[in-house]
């Protein structure tokens, strides 16, 4: 760092990047369950670890979490640091955030990955800011800059037509969130073991915040990120009733229904079923896009789909250039014909 460089006096001065070593993955384990989205982070962590010649540490906070400590190790973590305390029985962002901040200050990891679950998205920016370091949301890939050894945090900015490579050149740790299901789980190897499991005892802050009640909400079983077949509707459906036809088609294929952002904005389908950059990334083997024009943000959500089918009245819609099979026409006629044909073939 050059002597003339002025940095904000609010930041930690003269951060020595060399002191920060290792990759941390924050592993959510609320209510006795290890969050799969957190374990998926071990996939990019391994890629970065290889380039940085670093090890991967899983960080787990909670109460009575001992039986879950091996889980991240099975997926590739080299060590585990955990805090088990009655005061961590309930997740609350400031409390979990402050504990994580204290651990980072003690161990100085160079990179911290946090799953972009709702609670992860709530806590991560607080942690980053308390450490006076940068944070990149919703990364879809990572690399390492070979001259600076900074981690390149890759994310699609607004519009999704570009991928931005974001660095944190002066501050540490580098912090990034990743949305669930952007990466696959690494292979699970239950014979994997580690000799390094550290129980930390840190002071748990006691803010004047109380959980008064918590009520489980049963959500529909159909989670679009895990569906093998998705029938997805856009503005071109013309009305929310169009989704009934899509549901009928989805049933024939044993699939689920999803939608584009415009369908969500119109209130035709809930946000948790939105496919695209600001919704979910899906990995179906078959994705049938009905009345979806094919904006770059939408295409971003289906980049891992094996086969894309497009049905649209507009032959110029960009979706046709980004589909394997396209049919130009009115879905109100085409979908009943497909359903009929499926039934006919099934009867043999």
């Amino acid at each position: 760092m050059s002597a003339v460089q002025q940095i904000c006096p609010e930041w930690e001065q003269n951060v020595n990047k060399e002191e920060f070593k290792g990759i941390w993955v924050f592993v959510e384990c609320f209510e006795g369950l290890v969050n799969e989205a957190s374990l998926q982070l071990i996939t990019p962590a391994k890629k970065i670890a290889e380039k940085l010649n670093a090890s991967i540490t899983a960080i787990m906070l909670g109460h009575r979490i001992e039986m879950m400590l091996n889980e991240p190790v099975y997926y590739g973590a080299d060590s585990v640091i955990y805090v088990d305390d009655e005061d961590l029985a309930t997740y609350y962002p400031n409390v979990y955030g402050d504990v994580l901040v204290n651990l980072v200050k003690k161990y100085k990891p160079e990179l911290l990955l946090i799953a972009g679950t709702l609670s992860g998205r709530e806590m991560a920016p607080y942690v980053a800011n308390c450490l006076r370091t940068g944070i990149t949301a919703d990364c879809t890939d990572f690399d390492v800059d070979e001259t600076t050894m900074d981690v390149l945090q890759i994310r699609p900015p607004f519009g999704a037509t570009l991928l931005a490579y974001i660095r944190t050149p002066h501050n540490r740790p580098q912090i990034a969130t990743v949305r669930p299901n952007v990466f696959n789980l690494p292979n699970k190897d239950v014979s994997r073991k580690t000799s390094s499991v550290i129980r930390e005892h840190v002071e748990i802050p006691r803010p004047n915040v109380r959980l008064l009640s918590s009520e489980k909400v049963e959500k529909e079983a159909a989670i679009i990120e895990k569906a093998d077949v998705i029938v997805s509707g856009g503005k071109g459906l013309g009305s929310p009733e169009g989704f009934r036809l899509l549901e009928e088609l989805a049933r024939e294929f044993g699939g689920v229904v999803a939608g584009s952002r415009k369908a969500v904005d119109a209130g035709w389908i809930p946000h948790e079923k939105q496919v695209g950059q600001t919704g979910k990334s899906v990995k179906a083997s078959l994705y049938i896009a009905v009345g979806i024009s094919g904006a770059a943000q939408h295409l971003f959500g289906i980049r891992e789909v094996k086969t894309v089918v497009a049905i649209n009245t507009d032959p110029e819609a960009p979706i046709f250039d980004n589909a394997d099979y396209g049919i130009v026409g009115d879905y109100r006629q085409i979908i009943p014909a497909i359903i009929e044909e499926v039934k006919r073939r099934r009867r043999g």
Binding site: S119, L152, P157, E218, A296, G326
Partner: protein
């Protein structure tokens, strides 16, 4: 007991009317007007509803280019009492840390206040960072995804209901605190004519620049941003077969599609 509430909003390109170039699939941004981030309107509505229940004052603040004044007039049209446009060239190019720093310093000038509210995220960058980062600068408790709130013990505590993936939680937080309101959790009220006239006639929008805030220029804008964009590359295009059914008969189309899918190994039996 009246509440003093600050709502932070962002002035964003209206992506809802952005059109797509049919050749390139990219967004056509030229001539696209900006709007107040739609998810922030849920926060404004939330603040107005609290004001309706308890009385008090709602102040909107935005760190934006001068054109955001039109957006703040819109919010006064909805019923916001006062608006502050924080604008200065030195604030440009800020990442979320540097943005939240300016907002936090502006909010400090508005203290004492009871509640600082935000939208869940913006439609142009969707990071959902700012509320948590601002809470960190102000050293106050915060909570996201709030759908409902009521005061307890006079004005000491606020009881909030919030929604996570698979649960609804009720927390009690001390005032002052920060909260991000769940997107689409209410219907923002329309602008009324009398409020709109008020916005035009009375000088309800203040402009704050860095001469007034006197922030260290190394802490704001591009200089105050720990993250930098080192390069941008076009998103790789996923290769697809691009086969189109030639014809108009829906039954023929259905047969063609199912034959192709059968070749791909998709079984319907």
């Amino acid at each position: 007991m009246p509440l003093d509430i600050v709502v932070c909003v962002k002035w964003v390109p209206n992506t809802q009317i952005v059109n797509i170039d049919p050749r390139t699939g990219t967004l056509i941004r030229e001539g696209v007007p900006s709007i107040i981030n739609p998810h922030d309107l849920n926060a404004v509505e939330f603040g107005l509803t609290l004001k309706d229940s308890y009385g008090g004052r709602l102040t909107a603040i935005a760190m934006s280019p001068p054109s955001a004044k039109a957006g703040l007039e819109f919010l006064i049209g909805m019923g916001v009492d006062r608006a502050i446009l924080i604008t200065d060239r030195v604030f440009a190019g800020a990442d979320t840390l540097a943005t939240s720093y300016v907002l936090a310093k502006a909010i400090e000038r508005l203290m004492p206040t009871d509640l600082i509210i935000f939208g869940q995220e913006t439609i142009d960058s969707s990071t959902a960072h700012i509320c948590a980062q601002t809470a960190s600068w102000l050293k106050l408790p915060y909570i996201y995804y709030v759908i409902d709130a009521r005061l307890e013990d006079g004005k000491k505590n606020i009881v909030v209901k919030r929604v996570l993936e698979r649960k609804i939680e009720v927390f009690e937080l001390p005032l002052p605190c920060l909260m991000a309101i769940a997107m689409k959790s209410n219907v923002p009220r329309p602008v009324t004519l009398s409020n709109k006239i008020k916005a035009k006639m009375e000088n309800l929008i203040e402009v704050w620049n860095n001469e007034m805030l006197k922030l260290n220029i190394n802490c704001v804008g591009l200089k105050g941003s720990p993250t930098v964009v080192s390069k941008s590359i076009p998103t790789p295009v996923v290769p697809r077969k691009k086969l189109k059914f030639e014809g108009t008969d829906p039954i023929e189309a259905a047969r063609w599609l199912l034959d192709r899918l059968a070749e791909e190994g998709v079984r319907v039996i």
